[in-house]
């Protein structure tokens, strides 16, 4: 308790704010980007995409709340969400690139998670962008945490 109170007394640096702000920017861009794919381009999100969305969308709100005023405990709230999302993204990437076979399941009209339906510049795929976003958010969160203690 006293520890966290002491931490609150430290003057928030602009760098820390900027790090969390960048996290927000990535989450917001990911949210709008995924909405562009589904709502504008009409690509149906597969089940794994939905799980990644579920953990990306709330980050936009959580980071925003943590920025005004800067609240260092945003690390505690955002990190678990980002890590779960990251796990789904990695799993999706492995399914996508064929390392993990998609479970044998009856054919349905649902969208296959293993099907590649968008490739930009020949190699950037949606799961790859998701992994990169989650990884960047997690790294930035840890960097901001280190700055707090140093």
């Amino acid at each position: 308790m006293s520890d966290s109170e002491n931490r609150q007394l430290l003057t928030p640096t602009d760098t820390e704010w900027l790090l969390i702000f960048t996290c927000w920017l990535i989450a917001a861009a990911g949210t709008l980007g995924s909405l562009f794919f589904s709502e504008v381009m009409g690509l149906k999100p597969c089940v794994l995409c939905w799980y990644q969305r579920i953990f990306m969308y709330p980050l936009v709100v959580i980071f925003l709340v943590g920025l005004f005023p800067l609240d260092r405990s945003v690390f505690r709230y955002a990190l678990p969400i980002a890590i779960i999302g990251w796990c789904f993204a990695v799993y999706h990437y492995l399914v996508y690139s064929g390392y993990i076979p998609e479970n044998l399941q009856p054919c349905s009209e649902d969208v296959s998670c293993a099907e590649i339906n968008l490739e930009m510049l020949g190699f950037i795929t949606i799961p790859m962008m998701s992994i990169l976003s989650y990884t960047a958010i997690i790294l930035l969160l840890f960097i901001s945490r280190r700055r707090t203690y140093l």
Partner: protein, 216 residues
């Protein structure tokens, strides 16, 4: 550091990127849809397609429909109104696109009714009683037959025709034409060969009225 203005700038930037990308994507899609429709103009109608309205009308609406589709049902009175508002100027051609489970059987019955010149009556009845035979987006042909008992249709003949290969081929033709015309949802509209790009009553109304202005 003015954090709030920083945030506002980022939000404005993100939203404008989204808006601009959406604008250009939709524009490109509209161009592609128009070009594709133009290229496939000859397959918009088939001789087996049920048609209503003046033969010499200069505006032809082609509708790809599914009798179990609720939006198709909702558009039916709208189309009747449009035709009544411009008597003799609009011709409506119906094409089958059975996307709902079980609809493939129902459209065969409709086409069999068309052979007895009863397509429009049966379609109206089908729409009116839609909720009684299309349950949770699944068309139930046996319930549809029950509904038909009240119509003037020759049921025995309809049953025979609905099973014929001729009708099966006609339906198949409609489905493959829809695929080539890039119609993936019902209702899919074309007015004088121009696809309806932004879906809705108002855009369709505008498309029809523009064509009427151009042709009359």
């Amino acid at each position: 550091m003015k954090k709030l203005s920083f945030l506002s700038a980022a939000i404005i930037l993100l939203v404008s990127i989204f808006a601009v990308a959406t604008y250009f994507y939709n524009k490109q899609k509209a161009n592609d849809a128009n070009a594709n429709a133009q290229k496939n103009d000859s397959i918009l109608e088939r001789s087996h397609s049920p048609t209503i309205g003046d033969k010499n009308a200069k505006v032809t609406i082609v509708e790809f429909f599914d009798p179990a589709c609720e939006t198709c049902k909702a558009f039916s009175p709208f189309l009747k109104q449009a035709m009544a508002a411009h008597p003799g100027k609009i011709r409506l051609v119906m094409r089958y696109l059975p996307l709902h489970q079980g609809s493939d059987e129902v459209v065969k019955i409709l086409q069999a009714a068309h052979q007895q010149n009863k397509f429009w009556e049966v379609l109206d009845d089908a729409y009116v009683s839609q909720s009684s035979w299309a349950i949770h987006h699944v068309a139930q042909p046996q319930l549809f037959w029950k509904m038909l008992a009240d119509t003037q249709l020759d049921i025995e003949k309809t049953k025979l025709d609905a099973r014929s290969t001729a009708i099966a081929q006609q339906i198949q033709q409609d489905i493959s034409d829809a695929r080539q015309l890039n119609v993936t949802k019902t209702p899919g509209f074309f007015v004088n060969g121009k696809p309806l790009i932004n879906f809705g009553y108002q855009p369709l109304k505008e498309l029809i009225e523009t064509e009427i202005r151009n042709k009359y």
